[in-house]
């Protein structure tokens, strides 16, 4: 498969593993750079951009979770695929809370790794492309405004909102089908892709966060409606 234009940064301190990952990504057509230290990875983003970070957790300088949190704090929205020897549920959740997009435990299967890389990039492609094809990156509804490219918004009361990429992606999926029911599984598939989370309840938590940001009365929502047992329906001001 050729993957023109995509750049992947591999942050891994084990030289053998890093070399294996880099070789395979290059063979798939990705442009790849590699860094073997957590701090250097953060510094790398001062002067470079990437489409994906493959990030080890146990790193010299700064651990992978801290690298991810730091980058997110600085506004870097590049998706992160964690690669780590620590693969228990608590660790996976920690990684995703730090702003990671996917998690692969070592030792991993090469094809699964490549598939996950592809899936993350495909999701981001969809997100960026759909933001552009709709003619505008900005969604306006009932006095709220969301800029999908900047991951920023303003709620009906004038309050500035900074969205996480997951919140923005969920909103994007819902806003693409106004008035239609979108199942939790569809949201998971489009936003997370794989079996990253053990439960679809995770989606519910993100919907709650969106309600707090954009609903006048989050307890009685008029835009992010729950369809019991199925999923959610988004209504812009006009429909509601």
């Amino acid at each position: 498969m050729s993957a023109p234009g995509y750049h992947v940064l591999v942050v891994e301190d084990d030289p053998h593993l890093a070399a294996g990952v880099v070789e395979n990504l290059r063979a798939e057509g990705y442009a790849v750079d590699t860094v073997n230290d957590g701090r250097k990875a953060v510094e790398w983003f001062d002067s470079h951009r990437s489409d994906l970070i493959v990030l080890d957790v146990m790193l010299p300088g700064m651990d992978g979770f801290a690298v991810c949190s730091t980058l997110r704090g600085r506004g870097t929205t590049t998706p992160v695929l964690f690669l780590t020897a620590r693969g228990d549920a608590a660790d996976r959740i920690h990684g995703l809370e730090a702003g990671g997009d996917d998690y692969l435990a070592k030792p991993f299967h090469l094809q699964e790794f490549l598939l996950r890389v592809r899936a993350i990039l495909r999701r981001w492609d969809w997100y960026r492309a759909s933001a552009l094809t709709q003619g505008s990156d900005v969604l306006k509804f009932a006095g709220n405004e969301v800029d999908f490219r900047a991951f920023r918004g303003r709620s009906w009361n004038g309050e500035e909102q900074e969205l996480t990429e997951k919140e923005a992606m969920i909103l994007k999926v819902l806003a693409e089908k106004p008035g239609e029911i979108v199942s939790r599984e569809d949201l998971l598939e489009k936003v997370w892709g794989y079996d990253v989370f053990p439960s679809t309840r995770t989606v519910d938590n993100f919907i709650l966060r969106l309600r707090k940001r954009f609903e006048r009365d989050p307890a009685n929502p008029s835009h992010f409606l729950t369809v019991w047992g199925v999923g959610y329906r988004f209504l812009s001001g006009e429909q509601s």
């Binding site: 301190d13 084990d14 030289p15 053998h16 593993l17 070399a19 294996g20 990952v21 070789e23 395979n24 063979a27 230290d37 957590g38 146990m58 790193l59 010299p60 300088g61 651990d63 020897a85 620590r86 070592k106 030792p107 991993f108 299967h109 090469l110 094809q111």
Partner: protein, 357 residues
């Protein structure tokens, strides 16, 4: 942790119950003593009344005295004999003191037993924690070379590679296997050393030959990590120790030095030996990450890994320096480490008894 908490609660209950029981014993003894004293006072009152009646009836004093030996009888007055009165009070005090001591001893013995059990339990918990930590660490350390191994194999399986690429992958796999083998060796050594199952020989060992051999095995890796290794070991220096132990010590200290230098992007490791009195000293200096002087104690502890994550690719199991210290102790030598702080490099000094020629 749960076991320790349950133990602490049980101990607290036991001590509380025992203290209450002790208090009750003392109170009960006090009440019984008081009752007994009151009974005696009543008895003496009755005896005094009877003796007075007998004296008034004209019974001779001597006869009354003989009938009531606990009373001091004279023609004028009848009172309880002072020695009986003192004995009565003494008896009450004696029993109270006896029960106080017995109760105190009982409490002390109970606390001592609980203390002994607590120490044993804490030691067991520490061992369990260490084992748990060890398993987590070992599995983590094994997973990295294992992942690299799997990746190399799957790469060969997935792609059509030119022969030179296949050869490079095979070399990488062999190196990963060597890493894993070295880890297994360390784990076994540490287990034997911990249980005192390692018997060391004492024979003259040429330090120069050992250092040269070990250094040559690490030159390639050092080159990859931009580290230069220099050794100055006079040819005639001989230490009195087990040759395998000397090899393991030099290997582990050198490996530790390389692991400390690699994360800073390269540097220098020097090994300098000299005779100092009846000992041979080998100083291993590196320009690596160093350590805080306050972390000195932790360095040689089992599973201790300062700067977690730093150079994790080479850090193995966290057993290397533990093995060095134990082997040096068993060889009649010693090891010490110093650093001026993080980023200032470190020095390890190894002292073996010298072979007297």
């Amino acid at each position: 942790m749960k076991r320790l908490r349950a133990f602490q609660i049980t101990v607290l209950l036991l001590v509380t119950v025992a203290a209450v029981q002790d208090g009750y014993w003392l109170f009960d003894q006090h009440v019984r003593g008081a009752e007994k004293t009151q009974g005696l006072i009543k008895l003496y009152d009755q005896q005094r009344a009877a003796s007075r009646a007998m004296l008034e009836a004209g019974v001779p004093v001597a006869r009354v005295k003989a009938l009531f030996p606990d009373l001091s009888v004279s023609a004028e007055r009848v009172v309880v004999a002072p020695e009986r009165q003192a004995a009565m009070l003494n008896e009450q005090q004696r029993r109270f003191t006896q029960y106080s001591w017995e109760g105190g001893f009982f409490l002390f013995a109970l606390c001592a037993c609980i203390g002994a059990i607590f120490v044993a339990l804490r030691a067991e918990t520490r061992v369990l924690n260490e084992q748990e930590q060890f398993l987590a660490l070992v599995s983590h350390q094994f997973k990295t070379p294992l992942a690299s191994l799997q990746l190399s194999l799957e790469t060969m399986n997935l792609r059509q590679l030119p022969p030179e690429r296949s050869r490079a992958l095979m070399d990488r796999m062999l190196a990963d296997l060597t890493r894993m083998e070295s880890m297994v060796g360390q784990i076994l050594d540490s287990s034997r050393l911990s249980h005192g199952r390692m018997e060391l020989k004492r024979e003259p060992v040429l330090l120069d030959a050992t250092v040269s051999r070990v250094v040559s095995q690490y030159l390639e890796r050092a080159q990859t990590d931009h580290i230069s290794i220099e050794s100055q070991v006079p040819a005639q220096l001989q230490v009195l120790a087990d040759p395998i132990a000397v090899d393991a010590v030099v290997r582990n200290v050198l490996e530790n030095a390389l692991a400390a230098v690699a994360p800073v992007g390269g540097g220098k490791v020097t090994l300098i030996a000299r005779a100092v009195g009846t000992e041979i000293e080998l100083a291993v200096r590196d320009s690596g990450i160093g350590f805080r002087p306050s972390d000195h104690e932790q360095l040689f502890r089992k599973f201790s890994r300062l700067n977690a994550g730093a150079g994790s690719s080479y850090y193995g199991t966290g057993l290397g320096l533990f093995i060095v210290q134990r082997l040096m102790q068993l060889s009649g030598g010693r090891v010490s480490a110093s650093s001026e702080g993080l980023g200032s490099g470190a020095q390890f000094l190894l002292h073996w008894p010298a072979e007297q020629t």
